[in-house]
Symmetry: C2
Subunit: 356 residues, 2 copies
Amino acid sequence: MVYFTPGPAQLYPTVAGHLQTALDKQIFSQSHRSQAFKDLYQRADVALRALFGLPDDYAIYFTGSATEIWERSLQSLTAQNTFHLVNGSFSKKYLDHAKWLGRNAQVAEVPFGQGFYAQDLQVPAGTELLAVTQNETSSGVCMPVTDLHTLRQAFPEPLLSVDMVSGAPYAAIDFSKIDMAFFSVQKGFGLPAGLGVWLVNERCRQKAATLEGRQYTGGHYSIAALQDQYQQFQTPCTPNVLGIYLLTHVVEDMLAKGIDVIRKETEAKAQQLYSFLEESEHFAPFVSEPAHRSPTVVVANVLDKPASEVITALKAKGLVVGSGYGAFKDKQIRIANFPAIYQEKIDILVNELGIL
Amino acid sequence: MVYFTPGPAQLYPTVAGHLQTALDKQIFSQSHRSQAFKDLYQRADVALRALFGLPDDYAIYFTGSATEIWERSLQSLTAQNTFHLVNGSFSKKYLDHAKWLGRNAQVAEVPFGQGFYAQDLQVPAGTELLAVTQNETSSGVCMPVTDLHTLRQAFPEPLLSVDMVSGAPYAAIDFSKIDMAFFSVQKGFGLPAGLGVWLVNERCRQKAATLEGRQYTGGHYSIAALQDQYQQFQTPCTPNVLGIYLLTHVVEDMLAKGIDVIRKETEAKAQQLYSFLEESEHFAPFVSEPAHRSPTVVVANVLDKPASEVITALKAKGLVVGSGYGAFKDKQIRIANFPAIYQEKIDILVNELGIL
């Protein structure tokens, strides 16, 4: 089977080999307080810095999930006012976390399937954190990175927090123009689920320091605690070492291939998928604004039958695509275009969609 | 190498095979919202219920770590008063979490290397949660399960929360006499780290319900949210499916062998280790009270040389033991006696310790 699902997703082709090597070397029996683990964390750090072109002041923390980072970022970085761009289920969940934590959470909202135009947005003065979902996994809407940078220019005060869960590593964000970003590994990195990665700059750490002792900032998972451990390439509690090991090696594989190559391939495959959808009589792109169509999660309306029939027919051919999210479950299919999905697999999928 | 370290630890012998099967079946690409995942969670549930003899009213939740459960249990189950039995680094961390969360955290403390006698304890009226570390990984002190049951008889009011991180699955707790327990999988279950397991009874859920809406109970990770998802064998966020898969299969392997057999073997191996330490001129058991000597984490004083020399010499023979914890780093060694450590490995270790 080839998994075109938007996470958990097709494993990156090198995962099985790395896992076998790790078992042979007994990596998963080594103490997370050992030099061997510190070396692994440092190696992950070097690889991720190179992949994202991170400025020197960024730190890299590991959590159990990206969901956890919604909560921890709000606990460590905000006392009162947050602002959320909501256009789908995952951007709404960041907002939910802010409400649960009792924050004064303001929102700009557009309908499912639409994106934001940075120049039209107004963010209230006094906003501590501006939460943007760079790629909405539920609707297949992305925010072009240039708009992210425009947001920062227009609103330099709030910390700019970017959920790039299903956009990484494709999205070529200039990290000097945001303050933090996060993702989980079971999407664009093609890894088993169970690890969140949090990229945090000095400006975040300074803000976090002002809140320490004044509110609950997350205990063992506060930015202060994570940073304290990070300085020795350690973690506050026993982490998902297997996930960190695989991430490190897959990122190194991606670097060997070249992140520019991966981005160009992603764009070419996305172009192929959207062109097919536009020309098809049976399918159509869900996202009408071309600039907001995600290159990494392609959502298609199924025009003349229940989506479940398409999903079943494809599965019989060994191709697994995702169903629509929530209320769109039987009206749409979602196709992940992650780095693990090579060109030939897209060719096969487009061909099968064309003869359904 | 054989890892006698108290977590991460020697992998259970069947882990590599299960991992290969899961890769072949592409388990880690399947959606965590699929029926296949629900079936896996249900299978984990059945297996863990059988292993621990859980009463029907218990639910089983998954988290990123046992550390997270310290925090989540306090958020969901307490508004004000907690009481902690502290006799080592890990019991102290549960207390730390309570203080960070602003609870009125009371404590009974005994020196490192000592345990508690249930009949001597006094727990203040009004205590909401009584936190007990059944097996202190740092010092090798355990609380016999009969004392746990005595505690419940003497103090029926507070919720009795049992950290059995390095005691499970050996500790034969009567779960009708406690209210919740938790562990991580990289110790007694011999799995890669990155998964916490939380066993929660109806009494906890009732208490949690009284706090919902009155305080922050953990958002996506509150008992209410976890229970809501658990009822369909789902999780609030994408879980460590690989960890859940391996746990399920290793627990089934343990059930096939028989938990009674595993407990008897554990006791026999522990007896062998402690007898050796008592008779040795170079080593001695750290825990003086025999009833408080952990069968699963055996801590030895090294009498006539730095512990690092012993550790290095053993490593040269392919045997990895843990160092002492914290201030005892160079005075002690710690030997995990988990189910993955078969009798023949203990024979080899005892022999090598004897001729050092």
